[in-house]
Amino acid sequence: MSQEAAHHGPPTSFLRKYIFSVDHKVIGKQYYGLALAAVFTGMILSWVMRFHLVWPNAAIPGLQWLSKVGAPGGVMTPEYYLSLLTMHGTLMVFFVLTNAPFAAFGNYFLPIQIGAEDMAFPRFNMMSFWVTFAAFVVLMSAFFVPDGPPISGWTAYAPLSAVGSDAGPGLGMGQNLWAISIALFCIASLLGALNFIATTLDLRAKGMTLMRMPISTWAWFITSCIALLAFAVLLPACLLLILDRIAGTSFFVPGGLMISDRLQPHSGGSPLLWQHLFWFFGHPEVYIAILPAMGIVSHILINSMRKPLLSHKVVIGSMLSIGFLSYMVWGHHMFLSGMNPFSALVFSFPTLIITIPATILTLIWLGSLYGSRLQINSASLFALGFISMFVSGGVSGFFLAQPSIDIYLHATYFVVGHFHLVMGVAAIFGIFAGTYFWFPKMSGHMMNETLGKIHFWFTFVGAYCIFMPFHYLGLAGNVRRYSSFVDDYLQPLLPVHKFITIAAFCTGAAQLVFLFNLIYSRFKGAAAPDNPWNATSLEWTIPSPPPWNNFGDKHPVVYHDPYQYGVEGAKEDFTMQDSPERVPVKS
């Protein structure tokens, strides 16, 4: 538990303080800012796509400036729809759902919650962010190449993604940029994950045993273990894809393909190899997005309930088993891919079994609410909303985990509804909860509660209005990734799509309230005390915002479990982790 590794002096110049900073707090905020840029870009893309789906021939003002070819006169072409779809998915999954709950909050609070001065490798940490930033720039530059962004979706299935521009627009330079961007992102995430693991294992303060770490820290730790293994597979997959594209190799392309009247110069590769490699990353990625949100939400709920969860150990055990099982289920994305049908059973079973730790977590949250002293504020509303969304998105997983039902529901809007609720909305509720909870610590200002509550209500009701009907569309067999609905059987479903589009506009508009609140509170918000929520963990023992070396010159000493709330016989209803007060031991 040496503090030496993380030790560095205070920043001396503007550049060192705000741009190329090695301070984990600055890097955490940089990740958060990047995620904000990505999430609003991704959201605007979804607006444009939803608009096009229900008014396919209407011009979208300004879209022609983004791409003359993709949207002549502002009316989107089918291929440009797919380009935007690819960018929406890639931005959201990588640059929002991985960056915000894990890289941003993890960077800022993991070292503080364990009582460390910084990450184990501060320079690596700086490098992680800047490589991620480069990945973002490379990805966004795909908007500005002649053919536009790739049209192969965020899953980039080969051979569509591997044979170049013969297969369609955006599959030339656009797809190259995509593959390079994701490869860079993998490198950054691997460095980040290593750093998180080393920090958690080596830099804990005196008395901070593993079981005394807050649940949020546990979640980031488990997530980094998952990320270390997942991105380590996606990175070589991307490199092989790049080789197929520019060096003429055939890892993912078989022989005899006639594309655009041209016999492709490839032979011997396997499209299924890409799918296996991609989903070996892709499924754990779902848990990379949702586990930190689980940790953050647990951390916040406990504070709002003024009592610990029913069992600290069971929660950590459930998260560990979710992390472990996440590696045994990737094939459930491929039930109909042509892999051996017997293997469907092998992948289906662990997928169903993941429901057990997920149910345990849900029941623990619910059971802990019972008999609590629940305080309602923006942070706890989003944390409670997370539980509701996690349940709603989770139950549809029960359908998709079964290969027989997947025959009907695969590639329909049912799947879109499922993953948007469970890894999109639920994870983003975790991010929002975290923001309202930790903003005072990060900025030194309180956020506006009224605006926060307005934001919550529109987002909560709005997200249900958008994503519940997706399930109904899926039950009716509505296929996903269509740029317009020309099939006869889809015509009666168009009113549902209209409803969803309008709901998406309203819910999206509510996010502007959040953005305003964020900026307004940063400058005009009331000054935040050190511990506005009467919380127990170490981040609340230091000033808001914390000094560059977190704990000043003293090293914190930890005496308690992380959540000493409502302990009978204690002086107050909460006892901070570093308080030397002896409290009666319970549980």
Partner: protein, 265 residues
């Protein structure tokens, strides 16, 4: 505010369930011999998932209603049975759901994928390419001619790359843009992709299978109701993906023979 949240969650949960209970948007009538097993499986899952969904949301609403705003004067209580009880409940409830659905329910999957086609099944080949499906019948000799990708010539309607000059088997092959099948006869559909990944999806048949380039796959089915149904592509295949479709015509044996004869000439 807590009570408003509780009420909202309950309203959302019930409102979400209404279209499901009323079957407002549901799969179309099944026209296959294997589909009812899938439908039953889906119905059972809907009961179990639907009840779990309602129970969890209502409990969330109830506990928030009861506990929001309780202050320091109110006593903290522990859920009866504690974590242990809940873990056991999850293991037993979800465990039995998994056993019931996961193990017993594999029959539906097995009926499509584990048993091969019957000996007298009729083999038809489907080919997917950007952005159309084509179907090939072996003709009178019962044999398909070989495919030569370099001979594919859409201008000359040689979609499969056949070589009738040198290949006798291919001369009587019948190629069509729609999939016609006789009713109540088992069809063994082989799937070949010409270029990138595609998928064959007919809602009414409860059948979906990817076309994988370089890997010829097969599925079998028996259609039980004459009619015309849409075949759509469900694997993102490029700019025309949304418009890639064909029709499945389920015909009486008589009509089917006539249909085939018209095309054989």
């Amino acid at each position: 505010m807590g009570r408003i949240f509780a009420i909202t969650v309950v309203i959302i949960a019930i409102a979400s369930a209404i279209p499901i209970v009323l079957h407002t948007w549901a799969p179309p009538e099944d026209i296959s011999t294997h589909g009812h097993a899938i439908d039953d499986q889906m119905k059972d899952t809907m009961y179990e998932a639907g009840l779990s969904f309602l129970a969890a949301q209502l409990l969330l609403g109830l506990f928030i209603w009861q506990n929001a705003g309780r202050g320091k004067q109110d006593k903290l209580k522990t859920f009866p049975g504690g974590a242990k009880g809940l873990v056991i409940a999850a293991l037993v409830l979800v465990g039995s759901e998994i056993l019931a659905l996961g193990v017993l329910g594999q029959k539906a999957w097995a009926s499509v994928y584990f048993a091969g086609p019957d000996k007298d099944a009729m083999t038809i080949q489907a080919q997917a390419g950007q952005f159309a499906f084509y179907f090939r019948y072996p003709g009178a000799d019962g044999k398909f001619g070989g495919m030569h990708p370099d001979k594919i010539d859409e201008g000359n309607q040689n979609f499969f790359g056949l070589d009738p000059e040198n290949d006798v088997d291919s001369r009587d092959d019948i190629v069509a843009g729609e999939l016609a099948v006789p009713v109540n006869r088992q069809i063994n559909l082989t799937l070949h992709s010409k270029d990138v990944g595609h998928s064959f999806y007919v809602r009414e048949l409860r059948l979906q299978q990817d076309f994988v380039p370089g890997l010829d796959l097969a599925v079998h089915f028996t259609a039980t109701k004459p009619g015309r149904y849409e075949i759509v592509c469900t694997q993102l295949c490029g700019l025309g993906h949304y418009n890639m479709k064909a029709y499945l015509s389920v015909l009486s044996q008589e009509d089917f023979d006539k249909w085939l004869k018209e095309r054989a000439q």
